[in-house]
C-alpha cells in the first residue's frame, strides 16, 4: 500500500502533536520534581544540571514547617470520608439500580445535583454552626463536609457498575431464599468490587485534593497538606524548593493511586454516561 500525500502530511502532524502533548503534559510535573531536589540557590534559576539534595524533604518535616501533622490530617480525613461514603454509596447505588419506584428519578436527580451545589454555599452555614459547636479546626468538620461531594459522586459511580451487571445473576439466589441484604453482600458485592474500589480511590483523591473547606474551617490543628502549602509563602517570599518537595508529598500518593485504577478512570469520571 502506498501512502498518499494527504496521509503522509497527517502522520507528520500526528507525530508533532504527540511530542507537543508529551511536553505540555509532562513538563510541569518534571519541573516540580527536579526543583524538589535542588538547593535553594539552584531552585531560583532555570538550571537543569545541578547537584541533587534530599534536604528539602527533610526540612519540610522540621520546624517551622512541620508537614508531619498535616500529612497525618490529610490521611485521616481522606480515609474517614471514604470509610463513611463508600458503604453508604454501595447500598444506595444498588437500590437505585435494582428497584423501580415512583420517586426514583427525582431522587437520583437530587443526588446528582447535590454535587453541583457550589462548595462555598455549603461552607457558609457550616462555618457558623461549627463555630457554635466548637468543631472549627477539627478533622471531623472536614470529614462531614467532604461527604457532601464525595458521596453523591460515589453513588452514581457504583450505580453504573451495578447497572452493568445482569440482574439474572441475583434472581437464582433470591429463589433459593436469600433476602436482599444477603444477595447484595454475597452475590453482588464481590462482582462489583472493582467498581467499589475505583469509587473509593476517587473519593480518596477528591478528599486529599480538597482545598476550599480546609482553607476556611482549619487554621492550626486540622490543617491538611493542600492548605499547608500556603505556609511556605513566607515574609521572605515563596520557598520554591520546599514548595516543590511538599508538592511531591501531595502528588506522588495520588499518582500511584490513580495509576492503579487507570482502566476504570474514564468510566468512573463520566459517571457511566459515556458508554
Amino acid at each position: 500500500m502506498t501512502y498518499t500525500r494527504d496521509e503522509k502530511f497527517w502522520t507528520g502532524v500526528r507525530w508533532l502533536g504527540f511530542g507537543a502533548t508529551f511536553l505540555f503534559m509532562v513538563f510541569p510535573i518534571f519541573w516540580m520534581v527536579i526543583t524538589a531536589f535542588k538547593v535553594a540557590r539552584d531552585a531560583y534559576s532555570t538550571k537543569i544540571i545541578f547537584t541533587p539534595t534530599l534536604h528539602n524533604f527533610v526540612s519540610i518535616f522540621q520546624d517551622p514547617y512541620n508537614f508531619g501533622p498535616l500529612l497525618l490530617n490529610s490521611i485521616v480525613v481522606s480515609i474517614c470520608t471514604v470509610a463513611v461514603a463508600i458503604p453508604a454509596a454501595t447500598c444506595a447505588g444498588y437500590a437505585f439500580s435494582r428497584y423501580q419506584f415512583k420517586t426514583k428519578n427525582a431522587l437520583m436527580v437530587a443526588v446528582l445535583s447535590s454535587q453541583f451545589v457550589p462548595p462555598v454555599v455549603v461552607v457558609l452555614p457550616f462555618f457558623t454552626l461549627f463555630r457554635t459547636l466548637h468543631l472549627l479546626d477539627t478533622r471531623l468538620a472536614l470529614v462531614i463536609l467532604n461527604l457532601s461531594f464525595v458521596l453523591p459522586f460515589a453513588v452514581w459511580m457504583i450505580k453504573g457498575f451495578v447497572d452493568a451487571l445482569p440482574a439474572d445473576i441475583e434472581s437464582a439466589a433470591v429463589v433459593d431464599g436469600c433476602n436482599r441484604f444477603q444477595v447484595l453482600r454475597h452475590i453482588t458485592l464481590p462482582l462489583i468490587m472493582p467498581g467499589v474500589v475505583t469509587s473509593a480511590v476517587f473519593g480518596f483523591i477528591q478528599s486529599w485534593n480538597e482545598f476550599l473547606f480546609a482553607l476556611i474551617l482549619t487554621n492550626r490543628k486540622a490543617v491538611t497538606l493542600t492548605v499547608g502549602l500556603m505556609g511556605l509563602h513566607t515574609d521572605k517570599g515563596i520557598l520554591w524548593e520546599h514548595m516543590a518537595a511538599a508538592g511531591m508529598l501531595i502528588m506522588v500518593p495520588i499518582f500511584v493511586l490513580s495509576f492503579t485504577i487507570r482502566e476504570y478512570f474514564i468510566e468512573g469520571l463520566t459517571m457511566g454516561a459515556v458508554k
Binding site: R14, F18, P28, I29, W31, A88, A92, P125, I254
Partner: protein, 295 residues
C-alpha cells in the same frame, strides 16, 4: 408482614444512610444559606443572624462594582478554559486514537495532570511564570524576545489567561481520554466508505467524525462549564485575585465577603447568584444524562 411488603421497605433501608447524610450536608446548608441571604448578618457584630431585610442583599449586589467585576472575570475565564480545553482535548484524542503501545503509555500519563491537586497546580504554574527564574517565562522570552518585559501574572488579561491555562492543563487530558473512548465506539463503516470515495483526512473528520461526536461534546462541555464557573483553588494559589481584581472569580469574591469581611448575609446572597448560574448548566447536564439513562 408479608414478604412483598418487606421487600418494599428494603430499598428505603438501603438508601437511608445516603439520603440522611446528603440532607445534612447539602440540603440543610442549601436552605440555610437561602434564608441567610435575606438577613443582615455580620459575624464581626453578632454570632447570631440579624433581622430580615428583604432583598437588600441582592439589591446591593447589583450596585456593587466588585461583584460585576467578578461576574465578568468568571465569564471570560469560563469561556477561555472551556473552549481551549475542549479543542486541545479533542486534538490530543485524535493524536492518540490508534491503540499502539506508545499511545497506551501516553494515555496513562494523561491521568496525572488531572489528578493533581488544583491548589498545587496554581503554585506550580506561579513558579514557572516568575519573571526572574520561571522556566516558562524564560522559554517564551527566548522564542519571542519582544515579550521579555511581560510580567505574566502582573498584567490583568495575561493573568486570566494563565489562570485558565492551569485549568486547561488539568482538564484537556481528561477530556482527551473521554473523547478517545467515544472515538473508539464510532462505527467504522462510514469512515472507510468515505475514504474509499476519496475524501481527505480533514473532510472525514469535519463531515463524519465531528457530527457523530456531538452528544459527547455537549456533555463534556456542560460538565467543564459547571466546574469552571465555581473556580476557586488556583485563584488563591496562582494570583490571589490579582493584579488588582483582575482574577477575582465569583466564587473567590463570595469567599472574600464571607470569610474576610464576615458579612454572612451578603455572602449568602452572592452565593445564591452563583447557585442560580450553576443550576442552569447543571439542569441541562442532568437532563442530558437522564435522557441517556432511559435510552
Amino acid at each position: 408482614m408479608t414478604s412483598v411488603n418487606r421487600e418494599k421497605h428494603v430499598k428505603w433501608v438501603l438508601m437511608a444512610p445516603t439520603l440522611l447524610i446528603l440532607i445534612g450536608t447539602t440540603l440543610y446548608p442549601f436552605i440555610y444559606s437561602f434564608i441567610t441571604s435575606f438577613r443582615f448578618w455580620k459575624l464581626t457584630r453578632s454570632p447570631v443572624p440579624g433581622k430580615f431585610i428583604g432583598f437588600d442583599n441582592y439589591i446591593r449586589a447589583f450596585g456593587d462594582a466588585g461583584f460585576w467585576n467578578s461576574v465578568w472575570v468568571t465569564v471570560v475565564f469560563t469561556v477561555i478554559s472551556v473552549v481551549l480545553s475542549m479543542v486541545i482535548g479533542l486534538a490530543i484524542a485524535l493524536i492518540l486514537e490508534r491503540a499502539t503501545k506508545l499511545n497506551t503509555f501516553m494515555k496513562s500519563l494523561l491521568i496525572f495532570p488531572f489528578a493533581m491537586a488544583p491548589a498545587l497546580k496554581g503554585y506550580s504554574w506561579r513558579f514557572m511564570l516568575n519573571p526572574d527564574y520561571g522556566i516558562i517565562d524564560a522559554a517564551i522570552d527566548a522564542v519571542f524576545p519582544f515579550m521579555a518585559d511581560v510580567v505574566w501574572l502582573g498584567e490583568p488579561y495575561w493573568a486570566v489567561f494563565w489562570l485558565a491555562m492551569t485549568e486547561i492543563w488539568g482538564w484537556a487530558p481528561y477530556i482527551a481520554l473521554v473523547f478517545i473512548g467515544a472515538l473508539g465506539a464510532l462505527p467504522r463503516e462510514t469512515l472507510n466508505a468515505a475514504k474509499v470515495d476519496g475524501a481527505s483526512t480533514f473532510q472525514v473528520f469535519w463531515y463524519i467524525t465531528l457530527p457523530q461526536l456531538k452528544p459527547i461534546i455537549i456533555m463534556v462541555g456542560l460538565l467543564k462549564t459547571i466546574f469552571s464557573v465555581k473556580m476557586f483553588d488556583q485563584v488563591v494559589t496562582l494570583t490571589g485575585g490579582g493584579p488588582g481584581r483582575a482574577t477575582e472569580t465569583l466564587n473567590y469574591y463570595v469567599y472574600n465577603q464571607g470569610f474576610k469581611f464576615y458579612d454572612m448575609g451578603y455572602a449568602s446572597a452572592l452565593a445564591y447568584l452563583l447557585v442560580t448560574t450553576m443550576f442552569v448548566f447543571a439542569f441541562l447536564y442532568v437532563r442530558f444524562l437522564m435522557k441517556g439513562e432511559q435510552a
